[in-house]
Amino acid sequence: MNGSTLFRKIWDAHLVAEEDGVPSLLYVDLHLVHEVTSPQAFESLRLNGRGVRRPDLTIATMDHNVPTVDGPITDDLARAQLDALAVNCDEFGVRLLATGSGREGIVHVIGPELGLTQPGMTVVCGDSHTSTHGAFGALAFGIGTTEVEHVLATQTLPQALPKTMRVTFEGELPFGLSAKDMVLAAIGQIGVSGGQGHVIEYAGPAIEALSMEGRMTICNMSIEAGARAGMIAPDEVTFAYLEGRPGVPSGAAWEQTVEQWRALRTDDGATFDREVVVDVSALKPQVTWGTNPGMVAPVDAVVPDPADFADPDQREAVQRALTYMDLAPGTPLVDIRIDKVFIGSCTNARIEDLRVAAKVVSGKHVADGVKAIVVPGSAQVKRQAEAEGLDEIFEAAGFEWRRAGCSMCLGMNPDVLGPGDRCASTSNRNFEGRQGAGSRTHLVSPAMAAAAAVAGHFADTRELVS
């Protein structure tokens, strides 16, 4: 007996049925729903006379389409989709945390903040960044709309057993760096398809030293390495974050639950299909230069030359990326000027992210010609930031302070970049056109986005904060 991985313990505990040759039927503890990937699922339930099996384990919010400025929704299609969610939730008995409820926000921010995401759970949502919830020691993954219907109707999903990978972050993270730099470096090392078919467990001293916000940033981007899910064993940091939140038990039941959660660790001697080690002791702030998150380099590096890549597929991809990004090989990353700054998204819009960015811009001002916005991850994050005076710091520095939502991470609402706009963004994808047709995205940490806003070009954030 070699012992079991954290993943395998959760997987085994959720098997409704297991047979050779067919996918296992896996039970789902928490199903998060939003307006974009659910309307066709609810419609199919209606057409087939099906109901929602466990509305008590299902919760919905509005995030992708919502405007982040005050006033009515001007986009008719967006409004129709949000209205459809309200009608569907009402008809099928699903609780909806609608815009204006004070509890709305990005689905991957509110699940944890309400204490709905808990260690040992299986969590799904029609959104690839569902991997975020793995930070709590949950098995959490994104699904498509047909699967959304499947979970609504049956509270289960047929799943083939994934492979396992452990990514161990060795060393101590240097001053001024963050979880975003760690995960971007890891994706650079693993590649954007290296995690395919795997569930990743992140481990090591640099992970244990992270806050829950940082751990969520890491797990959030698992999908950018191609992985199904990412997870981190729960510990005292996890329990302290969850204690007192609405979804968790209190009193004696809390103590008992925490004792159970302590067993959710990979046993000594358990083996993984693949092991990766990332040394963070000499890590530098990371900036992406291309059109996928694996095209990343330290801030003091230069734009690479396609000729330096041996693999012809990769060489061609780099060439295409540089053409799209309008970058010349050999250009220092710190010489790249930016037009826009976006601090937000399910990757980096939690209170800690906003505090770090505010610290960098405090007493300074956004560079001439740069437009910068801060979009809190949830209504609660926004309230907390305002209670701490962060909104005033950002506004004094020339940032716009917005309402919660997915916003410019994918530009389904009016927060869209124009063609050719170059953006320092704390989001998760730098794909072509992601933030608007023809736009150019560079992924960075909140501290690096703040530094870029002030400098007007990429800059080592550590030179701005002592």
């Binding site: 039927l25 066709q40 709309t145 049956t154 597929d313 994918l410």
Partner: protein, 197 residues
């Protein structure tokens, strides 16, 4: 969902790695609440390039797409599979697929078949002598009129879904007793409807 036993037809080639679902169908088309009609938006930004493969008339009625590795990575939007299927594709052959896209394709009646790069190279060589392949989902075999035949592996559950055009939700609903038994043995952590937030 349409059953997919065997497809014979032309082959279009998109020779790029890591094609993400944002390219297959950009976000502005995800606001629709319908499930059909996405084919007209397929590769919306890329088709503006006259040299893009879909602008070659030879490719416009091809039911088979050969793509690069990690096809369909990124966003979970099933709209990507819907757009490919609605455009007319029934099969995608690639060295690898994004995990979520792979499942979405199966659930859409679009067969995502992973082949080794060497097998794809052989097929592409054969296509030079005649642009037609037959992909047989029952026999798990791809053949070219020249006589070339290549077998492939495919998840048996997904094969059944595609070959018979099955509704996976209905299949699981038949197992309600097993689900009820599981629920009876497990306590629920909260009732999301009753929480004071």
């Amino acid at each position: 969902m349409k059953a997919l036993r065997s497809v014979t037809g032309k082959v279009a080639v998109l020779d790029r790695a890591d094609v993400d679902t944002d390219q297959i169908i950009p976000k502005q088309f995800l606001k629709r609440i319908e499930r059909s009609g996405y084919g007209q938006f397929l590769f919306y930004d890329w088709v503006r390039d006259p040299a893009f493969f879909l602008n070659d008339p030879e490719n416009r009625d091809a039911p088979i797409l050969i793509a690069g590795r990690n096809f369909g990575c990124g966003s979970s939007r099933e709209h990507a599979a819907w757009a490919l299927e609605d455009f007319g594709f029934r099969v995608v052959l690639a060295p690898s697929f994004g995990d979520i896209f792979w499942q979405n394709a199966v659930n859409t009646g679009l067969a995502p078949i992973a082949l080794a790069p060497e097998a794809i190279a052989k097929l592409r060589d054969a296509l030079v002598g005649g642009n037609e392949l037959t992909v047989d989902l029952e026999q798990l075999r791809i053949t070219h009129p020249s006589g070339l035949a290549i077998g492939f592996d495919f998840d048996a559950h997904a094969q059944e879904t595609l070959v018979h055009g099955l509704d996976d939700v209905a299949r699981t609903l038949h197992r309600a007793d097993e689900i009820t038994a599981f629920e009876a043995a497990h306590t629920t952590r909260f009732d999301a409807r009753a929480l004071t937030l």
